[in-house]
Structures are given as C-alpha cells and as structure tokens.
Symmetry: C2
Subunit: 418 residues, 2 copies
C-alpha cells in the first residue's frame, strides 16, 4: 500500500513557510509498513485542491490531508475531498452541539461560519479533536473499485499529532497486515560521511532485510536501522546483530547507540563518574555552554563558565597571563592551555574545557594572530593532572566553524571520559 | 502564469529530509510575478516521476524540477520529463566532452553511467553548472497547444542557486511581462501577532496593491511588504508610504525596518553610542552571549560574560553575595539586580545584563525557589547609574522559555539604548 500526503494552505506556497507535518506523518506511516510515494502542497483554492485530491485518490491507497479544516472561507479540504471521492457532506449533530458548547463556555455567540466544521463526508467517522475546534475525519471506502482510506487532519501540529496517534494510528494498524518493527540509531561525531559509508557498507549490505539510512548534518553522522518481521523478536534480533557488527567496526567513534545527543552523552558520562565541567569560550561565545544547558538536569554536572570574548576577560575570569596573550596571541595553544586550567581552578570543576579560534569572516586581530587563518581553533582540556590542547583547521563559514568547534570540544570531553 | 515545483528524490519521502530548494525557488518566482500553485515531492521511481511530471505539465505554465540529474540509476528526471512532454533525449557533445575533461583532470576514467548527464531534452538549452557535473536544462515549448516552460535543475542548493540566478532568472524575466518590485520588511519583538494585526490591518488594507504578510516565530513578528508596478519608483513609493504609516502606528515596537536581526540592532546601537555590553546568564546558560557573538564584528561591543549556572559561580564571577542567594533564592529580583551590577563591574562594560529564571521541566531548586513556577524569569540591566529588573512569566517548554528570555534581554537593552 502506498500513501500520499497533501498539505493544504496557501502560506506553504510562499517563501516563508514549509510543511512539517508530513515528516511526522511519514515516520508514523513507515512504522505501519506504508511507504509515502508522493507529497503534494496545494493552496486554498477549491479548483486546485479538488484536482490534487482527485489525483491523490487515483494513485495512492491512503491519502492524508493536513490543514484546511477551520471555519473560514479559505478552509476547503472537506469540500474538495467530497468532490474528489464523489460523496456528499452532511452536518454531524454531535459535533455541531460541541461547537455551540465551546463558544457558550466562553460566553460567545458562535459565528455562523463555524458550523461548517461539523460537515462530515458521507460514510466517514468524525475524529474528536481535543486541542482545537475542527474534528478530523476517517473514511474507509471504495472508489472506482479500489479500496481507499482518506484521512482529514487539522493543520496545527499540536492538534494533528495527538489526533493521529490516538485515533488514526490504531485504525490504520487494524486495517493493515500486522508487522513488527525494530529500530535503532547509532550516532557518530566528526567523521566524514564517506568514511562511515566505506567502512559500514560491506556490513550493512549483508542485511538486505534491514533498511539502513545514513544521514550527515551539523558535525554528526547518524545511521538509522529499520527492520520489519512477523515477530518483534525476529526483527529486533536482526537489527541488534547488524548494529553489534557496526559497533565493533566503528568502536569508540560511536557516541550514542540509543539516540542520545552528544551533549547528553557527555553529561551522562560526567554523572557516572561524579565529575563536573566548566567552560571558557572565546570564538564560540557561549555556544558550548548553551548546548549543555539546553539539556534538563545539566546543572548537576555543568557548573557554568565564562564567555571570554575580549582578551581582558581571559585574564579576569580565567587568570590567563596578559603577557601570554600578547606574546602568542589569543588564538594559540598556550592560551587554550591556560584558559582550560584557569577556568577549572576558578570554578572548582573537575574538568575545564577551553575554546579559542578564528571564526571569521575577518582573519585574526592585529598582533601575533594577524596571519593565522580563519578556521584555526584550539581546544584545551584540563583535569587537574594533565592538560591537553588540540589544534583544528575547520572549514566553512562562521556558523559552521563555531558549531564544529563546540562539537569537537564535546567529543574531546567524551573521549577523555571513556 | 502559474508554476509547479517538483522536488525529486526518495530521501525527501523519509521522515529525515525535507525539500528546501522550493522556498528559494518560490521567492525567485514571486519576484518575477509568478505564483507557485503546487509543490510535489516524488521519489526516484520512473513511473511515479513520469506521472508527476505529466500532471505538472498539464496544470502549470512553468514547471521546475530540482534533483534527479546525477549519474546514477536513480537519477531519472531527464527520462521522466522527456516522456511527459513527448520529446526525445539526445546527447550533447559539448557537455559530454566537458564531463570527460572533468574526470581526466582528476586522472580518473569516467564510469560509463556518467554519460547520461549529457542527455538533453530535444529543443532544450543546456545550462552550464559550475559547481557540479550535471547541467541544468531550459525548455520553452508548446504542449497540447499551450506554451510550457520546463526547467531541470540539480538538487544540491549550492549548484541550484547560482544556476537559477545566472541562467534561469534572466531567461524567465525575458519571457514574462516586465514588472518592478519593491519589498520591505519590518520586525518587532515580543508582541502578540494578533495585536500587531489588529493595529496594522486597518492601515495595510487600504493598500490592496501591496501584498502584506505577517509572520510570527521565535519571539518575533515580521511584516513583509511586496508591491509590483510598471516602474520601480511607483512601487517603492507605495511600499514606503505604507511602511511609514505602520512605523508611525507601532513606533518603538519596531526594532528593524531594514531587515537586521534583534542582536544586530543591539550591537548597532551599542556601536553608535560607543558602549560595551557584558552578560551574566543563569537559565539561558550562554544562549544570549551565543546569539550576540554569532554576529561578525560583535567583539567590538560585546566583551563577554559569565555563565553562572551554579550559585557559587554567581558569587565567584559576579560578586553576588551568597546570603542574598540563600535568602531570596537564585531566581529573584534581588539576585538579578546584583548579577547585572556585578558582571558590569567585573568586566568594565558600560552595560551589564543578567538573566535568571526557571526554564523547567522541573520547578525551582529546594529553598526559597521551591515554589516558584516554571517560566518565571528576572532580567536585570545595570548602566552604572541605575539598575532595573523586570519580571516575566514565560509560557512554553524549556527551549521556548530560554529563547524568549534571551529575546526579552535583547529587547530590554535595545529600548534602554533608544
């Protein structure tokens, strides 16, 4: 069975807005064993929407609409779906009563337009929407001799997701062959995608029944594995066998085998060893601290740190000797070394990590840094016994250099804690 | 004339990847006066792709394909477009020679598959791709008695964008009625979209010839204005007249009338007044500093600061008296006040800004903060003469509370500098 997802709304045909519901719906459909063959984005025009609906119903077994179920003149999904399937709409008295009640509860008179939200496709089941006024609809029917499942969902994600999970997913599951899915994800940082593929392809190609997807973004490689079998234990066994072999091949490069982010893994390792961390950031300007503090509970292992953007603050907050900076330049292994030790001592953290570099777009400041290239980054790590400093030459623009520098710092801490 | 954009690639029918080229293409087409009526996303299946191509060519005047032009078996856009239009493909000898040369330059033998990249639709113009091997194609033809412009572009954005800008845009412009566009954008922070709309709609509705779009995201409201006229001065005059009236209505709420971000505006104001800024962040954990340092050149006005995630660091880096924290709790106006003054004094900055709050998901720590609600945030601003503290109750989850807190802090500094 194949599916088509139709996102309805003229705002998604502007340069400003994108359909995102389809990513969620695609994941949910894939879990049910259904592939998405087409996605269509169409505006609030009855002619365009009816034509898109008719095409989808002719070429897909399951058609899911998101959006266009509200009370305004522009909300035309119900009308278009009815015309495309060849059925009528009828008002559902239960929904109509609920709509009147909703307005009455807020001591308002319902504008007449709103009644159209109670219009249901003949033969369809209305799906209660607990986060909004427009109900969803589920129609399992036959069009031109073929079984078609047509689903209408509201556009706002906070309405669409619970409605799909609670009312659509179980109905679809009951209509489809039973299958059991096993999934895993392995995550690696800072390795080129081509290296990962070259080393893992000979392994995963021996598992044609496991769908392997390699994704690269933001200094990270993800390997997604998906396997469907008649029983869950069979599916799980295949996925575990394959991931086990890939873990053996990639070893320490894998930072997460259960989906945690790199910052979560670093915090977990700190927690297991009862250690704390502090940061002193120059070119990343708080990005590393921000990533760590984005994780709930990070305050137990991350004490904080300093954003030492100016030379004076490197001295004031991390006791880097001013003459060290004037001799070697703020972007130097010597300053990274001193910053890491200084922030550790000042904060009383078990580990101090420092980042100093040239993020661009302009090269280093006058003085010792004047001829150092954009992308040159030094990262220091002090643990009270020894202090290491690593040099990196990061490609790309300012944003990418900053992101990768924070990624390298997290990876340095992770490997230190292994 | 209406357009359809077809994004080709099975990876965009997974939960992991999304078409983003269409946003760029839509902006470019809108500038040329062309509306996008449909967007279709289709996988690397010849049958699906040919069907999608035929539908697009029947319903749109301009059809742009992105992706599926590479050398692999999965790259089928050329074949599908040819079948849908009813023309043949022929090898272009110039392109073929260039492909052989490309490989020779790297001392490699070209795999035979690559030759298919030189296949051109009969009647189409091949468009040189300076960032990749697959050329684009531009076909201006008649299908079933209707003029159709069919454009094939490579999928990678760094290939598609220059190819479109340099070779497609001028050709489309020459085929379409001349029009001159004026655009403006006004940006406001931290005002509900409905308030902005209520106050501005009576104004912009008097300008039906100016297309007004209101967008809300990340604690910011954007008003986009677009006007097309036979001459640029007419278009510009209408847009300027409308934005002038809206600026008069919204006054200081508008932080940017030429597109700058809130952090850029804050840095500009600091620069104009020869002032410097330092930050002390608790719940935002470096997010505010990270946003400021993301702007190139920020080091002239932003000195840095401290991420005072633990109570001890509030004292160590900003001299907040420990007894103030134990009496009032770290999330209190007293601590925000002391933090702002302390970070200003320690760094020697003209302005010190502080953020302390409860970002959740768990409520405040035991002690004085135990019963304070998630979303309670205090922001302090010290300028050496006086220190103000504002209290906020921010809704939403951890990420949203942190983002809005950083937004409120920037807005507080901006208004202070007005």
């Amino acid at each position: 069975m194949i599916a088509e997802i139709i996102a309805v709304g003229s705002e998604m045909l502007t340069p400003f807005r994108q359909d995102t519901n389809s990513l969620y719906l695609t994941a949910a459909l894939n879990d049910l064993g259904v592939q998405v063959a087409y996605k269509t984005i169409v505006g609030d025009s009855l002619a365009h929407l009816t034509s898109a609906a008719a095409i989808a119903i002719s070429r897909a077994d399951i058609v899911i609409f998101s959006g266009g179920l509200g009370p305004t003149e522009d909300d035309l999904t119900r009308e278009a779906a009815a015309a495309a399937i060849g059925v009528e709409l009828h008002p559902d008295n239960g929904i109509l009563a609920a709509l009147y009640k909703r307005f009455a509860a807020r001591q308002m008179v319902m504008p007449p337009n709103n009644a159209k939200q109670a219009d249901v496709l003949d033969g369809a089941l209305a799906l209660d929407n607990k986060n909004g006024s427009a109900p969803g609809q589920y129609l399992d029917t036959v069009v031109d001799g073929h079984r078609k499942i047509v689903i209408l969902l509201p556009g706002p994600p906070n309405e669409l997701k619970p409605l799909f999970d609670e009312q659509v997913r179980p109905r679809l599951a009951a209509s489809l062959p039973i299958r059991h899915l096993a999934k895993r994800m392995l995550r690696m940082a800072l390795i080129p995608e081509s290296h990962v593929d070259a080393r893992t392809a000979p392994i995963y190609k021996q598992y044609p029944d496991v769908e392997t997807t390699i994704l690269a973004h933001s200094g990270e490689i993800q390997l997604h594995f998906l396997c469907a079998k008649p029983t869950l234990s069979e599916a799980q066994a295949r996925v575990d066998e394959l991931t086990g072999k890939i873990e053996a091949e990639m070893e320490d490069a894998i930072f997460s085998s259960h989906g945690e982010s790199l910052e979560e893994v670093v915090l977990l390792h700190l927690g297991m060893r009862h250690l704390t961390l502090a940061t002193a950031e120059s070119c990343t300007g708080g990005l590393l601290a921000q990533r760590l503090t984005a994780i709930p509970g990070s305050s137990r292992y991350f004490l904080g740190g300093a954003v030492v953007y100016s030379d004076a603050l490197k001295t004031a907050f991390a006791d880097v000797p001013a003459e060290l900076i004037s001799t070697h330049g703020p972007v130097s292994p010597e300053v990274a070394h001193s910053l890491a030790e200084g922030i550790r001592a000042r904060t009383g953290a078990s580990l101090g990590v420092s980042i100093t570099g040239i993020a661009g777009p302009t090269p280093g400041s006058p003085g010792p840094d004047a001829n150092k290239p954009i992308g040159l980054v030094y990262i220091g790590l002090a643990d009270g016994h020894e202090t290491q400093v690593k040099e990196f030459r990061l490609p790309g623009d300012r944003d990418r250099i900053r992101l990768w520098a924070s990624q390298q710092a997290l990876e340095l801490v992770r490997r230190h804690l292994l």
